[in-house]
Amino acid sequence: MDIAKFRDMFLAETTEHLELIVNILLRLDSDPEDQKEIDALFREAHSIKGMAATMEYGEMARLAHHLEDHLDHCRKIGQITRIEIDWFLEAADLLEALLDDIRNNRPESSVDAFTATVPETQPAALPIAAEPQNSDPADSKRNLSIQLSLHETVAAPGPRFLVLLKRLADFGTVLKSTPSKEDLLQGDTPSQLLVQLETDTSPEEISQQLEKYSELQTISFPVAEEKKENKPKNKPIEKTVRISTELLDHFINLTGELITNRYQLQNALKKQDWNELDEGVGQLTRLVKNLHHQVLQVRMVSLESLAGRLSRTVHDLSRSSEKEVTFQTDGMKIELDRAIVEELTDPLIHMIRNAIDHGIEKSGTVSIRAWRERDQVLIEIADDGGGIDLEKIRERALEVGLLTPLQAKSIRNYDLLQLICQPGFSTVEEVNETSGRGVGMDVVKTAVEHVGGILLIDSTAGKGTRFTLKLPLSLAIIRVLIVECADIRMAMPITRVVQTVEIAASEVQSSGKQLMIHYQNELLPLLSLRKILKLPKGGHFDPISVVITEVLGRRIGLVVDQLVRQQEVFIQRLPAPFDQIRGCSGGTILGSGEIIFLLDLQSLFERRRN
């Protein structure tokens, strides 16, 4: 059995167990006598132990075993203390770190330091509690790997290996053998036998005994490192998702229907029956749409797993900062593309940190809320703290040269707030443990925009701060607006388009050098896409097609030659080195075969500003 191929599955499952552990611990924090939760916790630790031992991840198995021991104690007492909860959370972090080691093909870090500790237990503790370290009796005996192979001429290799396995059992306890005794009894005829023996006999002595078997070709005692070499090195971890069998059945059905549809179309074509062809294409449209919908489902994950990590962050921070923080979540059942959730995990944690660290003074509420709005998902992180101090931002912006003194006076509050997302901007002079981990708001903003979303900041002095993330549902297939400039068609994600308007040339106003238009009681600067892309100046259009969009936190009107249409497209990232082209974040091939590039307005404007 090649264990390595189960690694990805192991990683995925253990991660899930770990998330559950943290969630259970946080629930226990509010109800430390919930027997069911303690039992559940025990089962989780037990599952991890079993899986890790099977995969031969010794450190993880040892740690899980240690936890299991202590949980057994908690079960007997019938409750778990806060100190214990913190201890278990610490252990969860350690498990996470071990998973990380495994994921990156590193040897597991030692858990010795942790397994040497036991949380302080409640006074009512049973005597057992005093020494749960006895969980590790393997110290006096050694764990020996023995690998045996037979000469090719040996008459009955299966029975021979069975005899050898039994013989080895005379020297200690066979922890594991490949193949197992049962497999051998079933008639397995392996080419070699690998035995994990717990023994106090030296390898030399065992080797001497084994040399009496002339049937043996090789006797070796592989050490752990050698064993690892059997496993593929640096094999990239495949990202895995679990999908329900029901969904798989849907796929099969759809595939079946598509095959039928193909014949229908071929037939219609042969007969040149245009009506039937038309019907077939209609059918195909329905099927593909359905398929697309189902495939998207596979990629979708709910925000619940994320909520677990966030409430963990709140828990830890409120403890360490001695602030009383209530954490509210809403809409965590909302589903988003897995890639988006992964990309946003760190930024969201950072925003939560910010809220607790800078927003809330002594006590307050931090909330995360998610909801759907057409084909967008909105996530809002809010706190009811003091709000962002606009004056401080103004000072800081002047200091680092983001604003000229003149701009500092005239800038609107909304625009001022957006400045906290500028690289290098930070109003906190001293770096503290909570927020000083190098992830600034600029990183948050970049991450949100990277997945095609928009970050909005809103803050009222004395009432709190609210960050809103407007996100697309999925990354790969998105709805785009296709526009044309100088006979070149380009696409922009619909999520970035506020509205498209056609205005008469006479409606354009000018303010100094800048052209402006009126839009919903606001004056928006009017910019030409031709100019931005350094395309030749074109003829004048009237009416003028304008895309109202939001870049760098400001609304602008973008002039294009022509608005073509909206459609769903499958966006492919451009391969290196084309991925370095600023202003272009991908491409797609239209039904006509035409290649269209996806405009990344954000980076276009950044380039322009620089």
């Binding site: 008459a155 009955a156 299966g158 029975p159 069975l162 005899v163 039994k166 013989r167 005379d170 051998l184 009894l185 008639g187 009496k212 078997y213 002339s214």
Partner: protein, 122 residues
């Protein structure tokens, strides 16, 4: 002191051959038996250092005899003899407690290696 062996096989030819091999190698063949029942009786009388036991025999076969002997004498060292095609029987015998096995047809040095290491096991 010479090691004492009991040879169990329903074929006279096999018994004679094993008898020669053991005698030439300096063993003391204390008795022979041609079926399982007889093997148990002979074992009780002689309690030899080693038994070579054919698996397929009329009336009581080798595996049953082996189990009964081991039930009574857990320390008994029994090596089974079988033809190559009977791999599953060999596996069953080992599972039932046979120390080792000899595959027929055999050569004298193979037999002596197997029985030698079995009687010298600690």
């Amino acid at each position: 002191m010479k090691k004492r062996v009991l040879i169990v096989d329903d074929a006279l030819f096999m018994r004679s051959m094993l008898c020669d091999i053991f005698s030439e190698a300096g063993w003391n063949v204390v008795s022979e038996a041609d079926n399982g029942e007889a093997a148990i009786d002979e074992y009780r009388i002689h309690q030899p250092d080693l038994v070579t036991m054919d698996i397929v025999m009329p009336e009581m076969g080798g595996i049953d005899a082996l189990k009964k002997i081991l039930l009574e004498f857990p320390q008994a060292k029994i090596v089974v003899c079988s033809a190559l095609g009977q791999k599953n029987l060999i596996l069953d015998a080992i599972n039932a407690g046979a120390k080792d096995f000899i595959v027929k047809p055999f050569q004298s040095h193979q037999v002596l290696e197997v029985v030698g290491r079995v009687v010298n096991e600690l």
